[in-house]
């Protein structure tokens, strides 16, 4: 299995912190978000090959990888220009055809959650999207589903305050693509993102199921979430 950690984002919502440091290298506790994720993936998926992509401030990410022991160190995909996450994913799959776990590079999760997710992957023939419940006013990537099967993902950047209080299921930033499902998907265009483009393509073929991520997780996309990520990292280390 291959693991791709997406670390090429600009991190605009965390400026000015991300003007000099790429978001995945922001420190939470003793280590950076990226290094924590690599360490956790290395211990939960020991037989996998890891890849990290980067474009914005990529030099810093590359130089930071040197501190990771060689057998746990990921390959680095330098995007000479930003490509869009869907193309990065499909190109990696084309070069290294295998089941592919894709993680956002700003995720802070517990190893326990990853372990249970891994056990679920062994028991399914579908591609899997991890989701969690969130208030609709804060939801940015809403998953509509019938039972366990994903129907579509809707990206919503504008906050809808009218339905405040209602909870919806949202994308957790953890995707698992089974090899046959990626190979039959139409190749994405430049600048298209995994969500909704690639996920919807897999869902439309009836190959995507949701998995409820009930464990602690923080996606670092604001100053408040950076604080909660630090607390989570300190409490679970």
């Amino acid at each position: 299995m291959n693991i791709l950690i997406l670390a090429a984002g600009l991190g605009t919502r965390l400026r000015p912190l991300t003007e000099t440091t790429p978001k995945p290298l922001l420190r939470i506790g003793d280590e950076s978000i990226l290094h924590r994720l690599i360490r956790q993936c290395g211990s939960v998926f020991p037989d996998s090959t890891m890849f990290v992509n980067g474009s914005y401030l990529a030099t810093q990410i590359v130089n930071s990888l040197v501190s990771i022991p060689v057998l746990q160190r990921p390959y680095f995909i330098w995007e000479t220009r930003p490509l869009g996450t869907a193309i990065t994913t499909v190109r990696l799959f084309d070069a290294e055809p295998a089941d592919l776990l894709v993680l956002h590079g700003d995720l802070v999760v517990t190893a326990e959650g990853l372990e249970v997710f891994k056990n679920h992957l062994l028991s399914t023939n579908s591609s899997v999207l991890a989701t969690h419940q969130r208030q609709s006013s804060f939801a940015r990537s809403v998953v509509s589903h019938e039972g366990n099967q994903v129907v579509s993902i809707i990206e919503n950047t504008a906050r809808d305050n009218s339905a405040d209080g209602e909870t919806v299921r949202v994308n957790s930033g953890i995707y698992y693509f089974k090899s046959p499902h990626l190979s039959t998907t139409e190749r994405p265009l430049p600048d298209e993102n995994i969500s909704p483009r690639l996920l919807n393509a897999v869902a439309a073929a009836g190959n995507l199921e949701i998995w409820d991520w009930v464990y602690q997780r923080v996606s670092v996309d604001s100053f408040e979430s950076l604080e909660s990520a630090t607390l989570l990292a300190e409490s679970s280390s």
Binding site: V62, F76, I77, T80
Partner: protein, 228 residues
């Protein structure tokens, strides 16, 4: 008298081993006797430490680490594999030496010290060369991939299973442009820089996947890990 253009895509065949057997190691070597896996090496910064420019003229010695690495690579991946040095040398373009002197220095610095090396491919051009005969925007100067294609043609190399070790992102660009999949950039104690603002040559893929190593020995370790 040789014309200076004879050195365009210059090939110095320095040593050709007699191969006495055929060895297949894991999946790395293609199952065809005709096509061989190859270890491509940059010279400055890999075979010897880089300190500015013109090291070859000043006299360099290949580090013990580099010698150990090359022999370990050959021992691990079979004597069927080739070792080819691909380097940009601009001293002649800056009128600090003639091409003949550079060739002789390269031959002396590498061949006599590292018998595993099959060939050295060097580009002597520079787009802003002082020497007008070497002033050209050639296809052989890294990050362009011309020298890799030449080596592939001359030695019947199996490029997808080949390995490139360099100390600059331009080495990675050149090798990736030729289709080399196993790319290693040596960071050791210096921090290399990705020239993120410069335009990249046309043949460079829009994304390049490589592995960062601290010391050369890690290349063999990682390749064994990849094969397992």
């Amino acid at each position: 008298m040789k014309s200076i253009l004879d050195y365009y895509l210059f090939v110095v065949t320095v040593y050709r081993r007699k191969t006495t057997g055929f060895q297949i190691i894991g999946n790395l070597l293609p199952n065809k006797r005709r096509f061989r896996t190859c270890l491509f090496l940059d010279a400055d910064g890999v075979l010897w430490p880089e300190n500015g420019t013109g090291e070859v003229l000043r006299g360099v010695s290949i580090t013990q680490d580099a010698r150990n690495f090359v022999s370990k690579f050959i021992n691990t991946f079979g004597r069927q594999s080739r070792v080819i040095v691909i380097t940009n040398q601009t001293s002649a373009a800056r009128n600090e030496a003639t091409v003949e002197q550079l060739v002789s220095k390269l031959r002396w610095s590498i061949v006599t010290r590292l018998k595993e090396v099959t060939a050295i491919y060097s580009c002597f051009h520079h787009p802003h060369a002082n020497n007008p005969q070497l002033r050209m925007d050639c296809s052989c100067r890294k990050p362009h991939s011309g020298l890799f294609f030449d080596a592939q043609h001359d030695y019947k190399l199996h490029i997808p299973s080949s390995v490139m070790v360099g100390d600059r992102i331009t080495d990675m660009q050149a090798a990736a442009g030729a289709g080399v999949k196993h790319l290693f950039i040596i960071a050791n104690d210096k921090m290399f820089t990705l020239n993120e603002t410069s335009t990249t040559p046309n043949e460079t893929p829009s994304s390049i996947s490589f592995f960062v190593v601290n010391v050369l020995d890690e290349v063999v370790t990682k390749m064994q890990d990849v094969l397992n």
